[in-house]
């Protein structure tokens, strides 16, 4: 190490540090997928069937997702209803 190095900016992260960061990100994603219950697609299908009995909606206008935060889980159901006007109405049930 030369004397000049002392005055340079802090070093870039080591490759090991990059490995750790990449692992933490990819595993956080994979673990959340692993824990998500597999009833969600079925729930979406059934909700769609119930709503269709009353309102004529497109199959792809229902979105169901489960979000986890510390301590609580939130099931979010978004249904886009065809409104009388041109604009669609979005009903959100939390």
């Amino acid at each position: 190490m030369s004397l000049l190095d002392l005055f340079r900016k802090s070093k870039p992260p080591t490759v090991a540090a990059q490995a750790k960061e990449r692992l933490q990100i990819v595993l956080a994603h994979e673990r959340s997928g692993r824990d998500s219950p597999d009833f969600l697609p079925a729930l979406q299908q059934e909700l769609l069937a119930v709503i269709k009995k009353y309102v004529n909606i497109d199959d792809d206008k229902v979105a169901v997702k489960l979000e986890r935060e510390s301590g609580c889980s939130m099931l979010e159901v978004n249904v886009e209803l065809p409104g009388p006007a041109k604009r669609g109405t979005v009903a959100t049930i939390n």
């Binding site: 080591t14 490759v15 490995a19 990449r22 692992l23 933490q24 994979e30 692993r34």
Partner: protein, 271 residues
């Protein structure tokens, strides 16, 4: 009460069979009657690492299918008292393993042995699932390298979902981390994940750190479990891991670069 230990990793080539041979031999050296079973049907290698490849007559699959008795398939180690190997078939495939068939053999072994060590194949398919299904303990073999750590995390998820203990809602399988091929010099240079980083990511108790060592290849060349090489760091690290498994408090060693002598430094030699 006999305990079933599964040596697993998800990823291949990280040292499962080397570790099974060393750890199983280590348990037997401590006086526990131990049987190591090769679950890698079709890719048999435990026999070669243990140096008993010329003594295989019947195998695990023969016993499951009722073609041979367990006592005919078990190979007694010639060096270490209390140590037995149950080789697998080289010709059949993993479909030969069934939960009931494996369970029956393990029950029979449990009457005779203190520890039954299942050497899992790589992957998360049938062979690996059969090796971990009956486990009481799982030793996760991990290299300080991204794909190995990711696969270890994946296999931990499989253990927590698909083992017998998980299915029946019993006390969970006890998980232990065994880091192998650790190179303290590369860690110090920032080229390799630190054991602390691997531990932080996988969050399971650390059983041992086996340093990268030429002794491992030398031992496998001659069919000797590396734990019998008590001059080598890797061998000593495995012996330490066995002690920790049995509840002893043993400090981790071989995790700092070895100090270089004056001449080495002068000549800037590298390992």
């Amino acid at each position: 009460m006999a305990k079933i230990i599964t040596m697993t990793s998800g990823k291949g080539g990280v040292g499962k069979t080397t570790s099974s041979a060393a750890f199983g031999t280590g348990l037997a050296l401590r006086g526990f009657k131990t049987c190591i079973i090769d679950f890698d049907v079709g890719l048999r290698n435990l026999d070669l690492i243990m140096g008993c490849e010329r003594r295989v007559v019947f195998d695990f699959i023969n016993v499951i299918n009722g073609e041979a008795r367990l006592s005919q398939a078990l190979i007694k180690d010639k060096r270490v008292e209390n140590l037995y190997i149950l080789p697998t078939s080289q010709t059949r495939d993993k479909d030969a393993l069934t939960p009931e068939g494996v369970g029956k053999i393990l029950d029979e072994l449990k009457k005779e042995f203190d520890y039954i060590l299942c050497d899992s194949p790589a992957g998360i398919e049938r062979g690996a699932l059969m090796a971990l299904y009956w486990a009481d303990h799982a030793i996760i073999v991990t290299n300080p390298e991204v794909s190995s750590v990711r696969d270890s995390d994946r296999i931990l998820g499989v253990i927590q979902a698909k083992s017998r203990r998980a299915e029946l809602g019993l006390e969970p399988v006890k998980e232990h981390l065994l880091v192998t091929r650790y190179d303290p010099e590369r860690v110090e240079k920032g080229e390799m994940l630190k054991v602390e980083d691997v531990l932080e990511i996988l969050a399971i108790p650390l059983l041992g750190i086996v340093p990268e060592s030429p002794a491992v290849l030398k031992a496998s060349n001659v069919g000797m479990p590396v734990v019998l090489d008590d001059k080598s760091n890797a061998g000593l690290a495995y012996a330490d891991a066995v002690g920790r498994f049995l509840g002893e408090t043993i400090e981790h060693r071989f995790i700092k670069p070895e100090k270089k002598g004056f001449l080495d430094r002068l000549l800037r030699r590298t390992a």
